[in-house]
């Protein structure tokens, strides 16, 4: 399959801070590629460079055969961008917004009207298309935000955390629409910090942390990369002895890594069943009350934990 995007050694620096550090990857035509990483990992900056909004400090990328540095206008014809934050005119209706943005992408006349009707139907906004955006719920605004990105039938669609801050129903609708668009042949670059979304949608996943792409491949390839390990997750209270408990767990036989957040301790191990008893004993000894226990099969969360030593939502 031919590639639609080739990012090569992209770097973005702001004074002393490196937001994106030497990222390279390729996206094949027709696939859903997810960039998975915690907040502040560099996902939005990467998309901003690829969408020609920011110029890379160094490196380049070609999209549809056009360089983002040398042919930004040609790149913009190929891509559609659905930004993380809503980018709509609240005093215009959904239809007026779509008409305006459609014309910005060069649509006009019957084609424009037809496409506006289609994306309104596609995003379930046809009935309320003539109401001003400011009267919509957050989920409805998100759907219009997505509709704008689809108007000109882009070959490559950038979706930057499109489900942040919306209700489960709207989230479900968005994920379904991503899959539907991909079925129609659209290539999607999807960024998220929700492991479940990347798991459900992606053909391939790039894991990004601190501005670096630390892993890249299919989900099966990534889980193999960190080994076939289980993740044992203890849900605990917020006792003062939690750090001491984590330190104690780390030295138990069969424990690869152990890491804590406020209320959980995630333990990577070849066999969760084998270490469950000693871990509970250790917790009791430390005076930490274990409220519940989860055993997770190898997944992207485990991959991230295995690669960084931290849970994805740290």
């Amino acid at each position: 399959m031919s590639s639609i995007l080739q990012a090569s050694h992209l770097v973005k620096k702001y004074a002393d801070f490196t937001a994106v550090n030497d990222i390279s990857f390729v996206i094949a035509e027709g696939e859903i590629f997810s960039l998975l990483g915690p907040n502040g990992a560099g996902k939005t900056t990467t998309i901003s460079m690829l969408s020609t909004l920011f110029e890379p400090t160094s490196g380049d990328a070609t999209i549809g055969g056009h360089s983002v540095l040398r042919e930004p206008m040609a790149v913009r014809q190929v891509i559609g961008v659905i930004p993380q934050d809503l980018a709509l005119y609240e005093d215009l209706s959904a239809r007026e917004n779509l008409n305006f943005w459609g014309q910005m992408y060069g649509l006009s006349g019957r084609t424009l009207h037809q496409r506006v009707d289609e994306v309104l139907e596609q995003t379930g906004m046809a009935e309320k298309a003539n109401q001003r955006v400011k009267t919509y719920s957050g989920g409805m605004k998100r759907r219009v935000n997505i509709a704008v990105g689809l108007l000109h039938r882009p070959r490559l669609l950038f979706m930057d955390e499109p489900t942040v801050g919306i209700d489960p129903q709207s989230r479900r609708a968005i994920l379904d629409s991503v899959k539907a668009l991909n079925k129609e042949g659209m290539t999607v670059l999807y960024t998220t910090h929700y492991m479940e979304e990347a798991h459900e949608l992606s053909d391939r996943v790039g894991i990004i942390d601190h501005g670096q792409l630390i892993a890249l491949g299919t989900q099966a390839e990534l889980t193999r990369q960190v080994g076939v390990n289980d993740t044992l997750v203890l849900h605990v209270g917020e006792e003062e002895t939690l750090d001491a408990l984590v330190a104690g767990i780390r030295v138990l036989p069969g424990v690869i890594t152990a890491d804590r957040t406020d209320h959980t301790i995630a333990i990577l191990t070849p066999s969760a069943a084998d270490i469950l008893a000693p871990v509970i004993t250790q917790a009791n000894a430390s005076g930490v009350k274990v409220r519940s226990v989860d055993i997770q099969e190898p997944n992207l969360e485990a991959v991230f934990l295995g690669l960084t030593g931290r849970a994805l939502r740290d």
């Binding site: 901003s48 930004p83 809503l86 980018a87 005119y89 005093d91 215009l92 007026e96 305006f100 060069g106």
Partner: protein, 425 residues
């Protein structure tokens, strides 16, 4: 180019959907114009609102052809609606009614008025000139101005007719068309007909004596009383134009904050097109505001702004210069609230400098010169000229000055915007 228009018209739509903006763009100038109109007596009293049915009392003691012709002029269908003339025989009573605010003006056509202009004999020629008397209500300067204009026009035509009549009679006598005995009656008829048939022109005449209550010193005025609203309305419109352009400048930063600017910049639209579109949006919003205010005041207050083409040209130039100021403020600011604060201050300062609240003519010369850093001052110069009846040529200097100001401000703003990398996410 199409995208520039699209961005501009989108901004125009957005601002006209913002109730707060409409309040300041359109309602505030109307209300202030109305308020100041009442203060100056332009809209108060029995005359109702606007220039309609101005109550004027005519006392015709002359009874001659010209006296009667003048009464007919005031009662003519052309002036019906504008004037509400009534006839009286007692000038003292008419004056009392003016003093009681029941009439805006009283006109005395003294006995012998016709004969003083068209002498019937040696006695008339030797008699001293007879003046029309206009007893004016000082609280209604605009209404009085209208009445005085009608009188002046009439007298101008009489003067013209007098001259034409004399020349015509002389030629008719020479050609033998009339006999010397017929010269007087033919001349009188000819003069009255010409005078009654023409009302255009606004030359002044010393044949009117204006008297105001409480002011016993009568004066023979040669100056045309400018409609005060013709000064108030443009002053207010220009002042609130500054609000509109800073609002437009503010939208540059607002678009960045609301994420629509980055979205525009990842569409196939160049940053130059985006900036030009935003500037065009500010410009057409300002033009729309000015035109609405001009049409509104013309319809509601009966205000005559002057030559329409010259008015439009002046509006375009004034809005261009104001847009330059709006852009400069935006390019120097870091936040939308900063633009709003500076914009409001600038609106008031320029309003003062431009003469929106009081005439600058009473201030020292250097203040008057300094005031022309504002588009308001140049705009007021132009609008005042047009209100006085001047044409396109009279506003050449204000228009050129405003366009130069616009060019300089656009240049400075463009440099700053470029240096600050303003049109980026």
């Amino acid at each position: 180019m199409k995208k520039i228009f699209l961005i501009g018209f989108k901004d125009l739509t957005l601002i006209f959907r913002d109730p707060a903006a409409l309040l300041l763009m359109l309602l505030a100038p109307f209300v202030l114009t109305l308020g100041l109109g009442f203060v100056t007596g332009r809209l108060g009293g029995n005359s109702g609102s606007g220039l309609r049915d101005i109550p004027v009392i005519l006392v015709n003691q002359d009874g001659g052809d010209l006296g009667n012709a003048l009464v007919q002029v005031f009662q003519s269908p052309d002036l019906n609606g504008l004037l509400a003339p009534t006839l009286s025989t007692d000038f003292a009573d008419a004056q009392a009614q003016v003093e009681a605010n029941k009439a805006d003006a009283a006109i005395l056509i003294p006995a012998g008025f016709t004969n003083s202009i068209i002498p019937t004999g040696l006695a008339d020629i030797n008699a001293s000139a007879v003046q029309l008397q206009l007893f004016a209500n000082p609280t209604r300067p605009t209404s009085v101005g209208v009445v005085k204009t009608v009188l002046e026009s009439f007298l101008d035509q009489v003067e013209t007719a007098h001259l034409i009549g004399r020349v015509s009679i002389a030629q008719m006598l020479t050609a033998g068309i009339i006999q010397p005995a017929q010269a007087q009656s033919v001349g009188a008829k000819l003069g009255a007909q010409i005078a009654a048939s023409r009302l255009s022109g606004a030359a002044n005449s010393s044949a009117i004596k204006i008297v105001s209550p409480g002011n016993n010193s009568s004066s023979t005025s040669r100056s045309f009383q400018v409609n005060t609203l013709a000064l108030i309305a443009p002053g207010m419109a220009l002042m609130f134009l500054m609000y509109t352009v800073t609002y437009g400048g503010r939208s540059l930063l607002a678009e960045r904050n609301q994420g629509t600017l980055p979205r525009l910049l990842v569409s196939p639209t160049s940053s130059t097109q985006v900036l030009a579109g935003k500037v065009f949006g500010i410009f057409i919003t300002g033009v729309a505001q000015m035109l609405i205010l001009i049409l509104g005041t013309a319809l509601l207050f009966g205000l005559h702004w002057g030559d329409p083409l010259a008015t439009l040209l002046l509006v375009l130039a004034a809005v261009a210069a104001a847009t330059g100021w709006g852009l400069l403020v935006a390019s120097l600011s870091k936040t939308t609230s900063q633009i709003s604060s500076v914009g409001s201050a600038l609106m008031l300062i320029f309003g003062l400098l431009g003469g929106s609240f009081f005439s600058m003519s009473a201030l020292p010369r250097w203040v008057q010169v300094f005031s022309h850093i504002s588009p308001n001052a140049w705009g007021m110069d132009g609008f005042s000229s047009l209100a006085l009846g001047d044409g396109l040529s009279a506003i050449t200097t204000p228009v050129l000055a405003l366009l130069l100001m616009a060019a300089l401000l656009f240049g400075a703003a463009a440099l700053l915007i470029n240096r600050r990398n303003f049109i980026t996410a």
